[in-house]
């Protein structure tokens, strides 16, 4: 699938085929995509625990549920629990930055050297950052980018995907992860039981309310010609509309088949 179509085709899938297994290779593809994500200071905050739902004891599965992450956890055959490893920067102490210097990714042309990393970047910037209130947000944002690559790779593999939030209070104990791993999201994976279109692309706020040019308040003008190009490339697709009879019929049929309330 072309990259733009992958973006356009992604939906948060809420109805999975509960008993259709996901090939392990496809999960690996998703994890490989996460590993290759853009990553500040090469830290790699994102960690993941992959779980086959049916190998989770029922009591643990029930503990992971929240009222809004209940049915989804039951239906998705594979769960990828994402964590932010808050301790990684102080464990590595600049090691991974030095690797970037060695391979020419951070070259002297841009001011980089081992000495700069060892004497300035780690002790004067990164270590204090880990003690700053802003650190968690920065690390989580970075981890989120990597998780998003896994998600899009899943779509490219023909899978249904959905980010959800497991019960954060007990997740560390369920998976016995280190204390400094912060629970981020769970990426639910399976084959969609709903049509891949799932009613259409979800409502979005107007483009020019979201993006600005030069300064806040000056909208970045949306060029209709670009929009048409993106429609042709299947990145912008049919938008979901309220009270779509076809979508309602689809949900009713899924509710009947899966035993869900209406």
């Amino acid at each position: 699938m072309e990259f733009k179509e992958v973006i356009g085709r992604r939906r948060t899938i809420r109805f999975f085929e509960p008993d259709k297994p996901v090939p392990r290779e496809k999960i690996q593809v998703m994890l490989e995509a996460a590993l290759l994500a853009s990553c500040a200071v090469n830290a790699h905050w994102l960690k993941a625990v992959v779980v086959e739902r049916d190998k989770l004891p029922q009591d643990k599965l029930d503990k992971l549920k929240t009222p809004v992450a209940d049915i989804a956890l039951d239906l998705a055959p594979v769960h990828i629990y994402f964590f932010v490893d808050l301790g990684v920067v102080n464990r590595n102490q600049g090691t991974r930055l030095r690797q970037l210097v060695d391979v020419g990714a951070l070259p002297p042309t841009h001011g980089w050297s081992h000495r700069f990393v060892d004497e300035m970047v780690y002790p004067q910037i990164l270590k204090p950052l880990t003690e700053s209130p802003a650190y968690v947000a920065a690390a989580a944002a970075d981890a989120g980018m990597a998780a998003c690559q896994a998600l899009l790779a899943g779509v490219d593999e023909g899978l249904g995907v959905a980010m959800n939030t497991p019960n954060p209070e007990i997740i560390q104990s369920v998976f016995e992860v280190p204390q400094d791993w912060l629970s981020l999201w769970v990426l639910l994976v399976g084959y969609p039981a709903e049509s891949w279109e799932a009613g259409g692309q979800r409502p979005r706020p107007p483009f020019e309310e979201q993006f600005f040019e030069g300064k806040y308040g000056v909208p970045f003008k949306r060029d209709p010609a670009v929009v048409e190009q993106l429609k042709a490339a299947k990145m912008i697709q049919r938008a979901a509309v309220p009270n779509d009879p076809a979508r309602k019929a689809e949900i009713k049929a899924l509710a009947e088949r899966l035993g869900l309330p209406l």
Partner: protein
């Protein structure tokens, strides 16, 4: 406990209004089991529809309506019991439970029971 006709309860009217707004049709009549199942659940729980919803909400100090975790947990368990008390097929049991869950959902009480067919034996 003697119930009034179900349509006299505000929560029942809210339920049917919600169903009508979302799915269309005539929810009081298009599923002839809908109201009798709610009646049976109320008999089973020894309560009435408005009390069910009333116990699932609370008003916080700021005067805002909140879902009562205690109340929701109580009724989630009662609905599970009501569902399994039937000798019918798994799908029919699911319908019993899900009809009552629908009553709560359309009264603003998020209540999920998981997918009935995906549950491990």
């Amino acid at each position: 406990m003697e119930l009034k006709p179900l349509l006299e309860y505000e929560s029942v009217r809210n339920w049917l209004d919600g169903l009508r707004a979302h799915w269309g049709g005539d929810p009081a009549n298009d599923d002839p089991e809908r109201l009798p199942l709610l009646q049976a659940f109320c008999d089973f729980a020894g309560t009435d529809p408005d009390t069910v919803i009333g116990e699932c909400v609370r008003i916080d100090k700021a005067g805002d309506r909140r879902i009562s975790i205690k109340g929701r947990r109580k009724y989630a368990a009662l609905i599970d019991e009501f569902q399994t008390a039937s000798e019918e097929s798994r799908l029919r049991k699911a319908k019993r439970g899900n009809t009552i869950r629908s009553f709560l959902i359309h009264n603003g009480i998020l209540l999920a029971a998981g997918a009935q067919l995906a549950k491990k034996a």
